[in-house]
């Protein structure tokens, strides 16, 4: 268990984290999503006690908190954060890095070879990290945290520089770790991936952590709530609203138009499909608002002119 209690962090006049309280349970994977510089890393740094909050505290199992240096050591025995690939020792091999983490956390040494195999690192792990590509370094950093085998793992931009295959491999390992009962907190810009695996996803807004389910009700549920149409023309949108006045529409900065459905009745879906096909609109999909859409809606509100979005979680189409 990890409980964040009223954490506030302020740099100068800027409140990066503003009175954040929440609880993470064992076996949960938490996603943190936000543009750069909005507080994701600061939040993780507070959880690691790298940054001292001005207010509030972080409480771990058995009521442990960063109240003194001795507790910090105890907490760091079961909480770890993925290292940054730029911090690797270029003169050491990947295996030496893994040994370093395994011995430092006194985890099972067998984990080293298992992780190397799981991440397909065998062909380069014995070479010096100075020769590694970004993706290789990133995988090594991930592997280092995996071999530390702590109960709580935090990863900032874990998928950076990875090809889709490796993203999938890492995701599967994360799922396995989650199933082992670990709390995994991930900050990532690979939103599709995060959406696929995270149990809860939080967006950062003005120093607050906002659950995606709060932004859009039932975001994490798998119901047909939206039709996502690519590059829909203004004329078509106008006609659609005339024919279906109960619909709410929103066009995002990425060119995606979201048609929010009041219900998922078959007749409505059928009528809408006919409407779109008749107007030669073929690039559309039924489903729900994706995390990508949500991100676009949430962090590009000015460009779509929807300033109400974050305030009342309600979408209005503006022509």
């Amino acid at each position: 268990m990890l409980e964040v209690q009223n954490i506030t962090v302020q740099f100068g006049g800027n409140k990066v984290l503003n009175d954040i309280s929440m609880t993470f349970e064992q076996g949960e994977m938490i996603g943190l999503v936000a543009p750069n510089g909005t507080g994701k890393s600061t939040f993780m740094n507070v959880l690691m006690n790298y940054v001292k909050p001005m207010k509030g505290k972080v409480v771990f199992k058995d009521g442990l908190s960063y109240s003194n240096k001795s507790n910090e050591v105890k907490i760091h025995q079961f909480v770890s954060m993925m290292p940054d690939q730029s911090d690797l020792y270029n003169h050491l091999s990947g295996r030496e890095h893994l040994k370093m983490f395994a011995t430092m956390w006194q985890s099972d040494i067998k984990l080293i070879d298992e992780t190397i195999e799981a991440l397909n690192m065998g062909h380069y792990v014995n070479k010096k990290t100075g020769t590694y590509s970004l993706g290789m370094r990133q995988r090594l950093c991930f592997a280092m945290q995996i071999v530390s085998n702590t109960e709580i793992m935090m990863m900032d931009e874990v998928m950076n520089g990875l090809d889709p295959n490796n993203v999938e491999i890492i995701s599967k390992i994360l799922v396995k770790k989650k199933e082992e009962g670990k709390i995994i907190i991930i900050a990532s810009h690979l939103l599709d991936n995060l959406e696929k695996y995270a149990d809860r996803i939080y967006l950062f807004n003005n120093g607050k952590l906002v659950n995606t389910n709060q932004v859009i009700e039932g975001f994490s549920q798998s119901h047909i709530k939206t039709i996502r149409v690519k590059n829909m023309e203004g004329n078509t949108i106008k006609q659609l609203l005339e024919l279906f006045p109960n619909l709410e529409l929103q066009t995002l900065t990425n060119g995606m138009t979201l048609i929010h459905l009041p219900s998922s009745e078959a007749s409505l879906l059928s009528s809408l499909t006919s409407f779109l096909v008749e107007r030669n609109v073929v690039d559309f999909a039924f489903g729900k608002v994706t995390l990508n859409d949500l991100y676009s809606m949430y962090y590009h509100e000015d460009s779509i002119g929807d300033s109400q979005l974050k305030k009342n979680n309600h979408f209005n189409y503006e022509d």
Partner: protein, 403 residues
Amino acid sequence: MWSYFKFEFKQFFTNKKNVAIYFLLAFATFFYVFKIAPTYNPIERVDYDEIEARYLTRQEFLDHMEGQDLNNVHPSVIYAIEIFKEINPIDKGRLDALDEGNFKKYADLTSDWYYFTNSITYRNEVFSYNSKYFIKNNKYAEDDAFYAYLEQAVRYDAYSKADYELSLEIFEQRTALQTFERLLKGVLPIILIVCVLLLSIDIVKKDQRHPSILKGFPISDWKKLLVKMFVALLGSMVLFVPLIVGVFIIGLQSGFGNFNLPSPVYAAHLDWRVDGKFEMMTLGTFLGQSFILLFTWFIVMINVVLLCSIIFRNEMVNFAVGLLLIFGENFYSSRYVGYFWDVQNYPTSYIQVGQIISKRRNFYYMNDQLDFTLGLQLLLGLAGVIIFLMILIALNRRYKLIK
């Protein structure tokens, strides 16, 4: 903690800068062993030809003066005859001893020779010490020669009572252990302490290049610092490896010597006319005490670097403070200044490790208080205070070793 020790140990010995320091020291050692040591030319040599030349000249003079009326001669001639009559039998005995290969007899007579020669030469306008003392405008050359003669006298006295085999190499202090002794009385301690400063200078700062790897290690900052100190100390001990190899090579060239060889210690309280000015210490004791004092200096230097690192987080500051400690003595060091100032209370006065043990520094400063035990107490006290401050800072809840 063991894991962290292994990690730091590996870091230390794979650090390119540290490897370079070991390499340079090894290079300097071998250069010394093969180029400098063989050409060592001590002022006080066993020079048969020189002894013979002096002896014959004096004997010729004595033979010439034999039977002459000395009533009308200059007083200095009478003085010379008196002195030559004293010293020539000694020199004759020395030459005979060398011819016979009887080194004990040579040592015994040479001890007498130094005592006698010193007594007639010191502050005497007629006689002069070996001219090699009078170099580099040394105002205190006569005092230095006085010191050297009395030291030689004690040395040879000890040789005359030796129960080990003597050799010319031993007399001229060319054996491996004696070479080490000479070096410890010279620049070697400073070279080693500078090496320790350079080895440890980045032991904290290097971590700043890998913060995300190291910050989360489940070990407290004060333990990290202690481990770093221990590793740096071990690293400092490795500095002795090339030196030991060098000593071994010199041993093969000139003999190893032994730990029972004499190593005179200046004794300010003795009256030089009656008791000489030196007490005897074995070479083993000298090397042992030198090592202890040197090791204590290593501890002080490493902890100074650690403390500066956690306060200033700048390698240049570490370097500056370290150099200040090593060369701080030069700010007040002056011949006989210890008579006026309590230099014995400054830890920096103990940097010339070999000269502290042999108390040559006491002679230099004209200070009776400079002493191995006091130096050890001061340096250990200093190290203790530094370690205490370091741990106090590291235990502070707001302090982060790695930012």
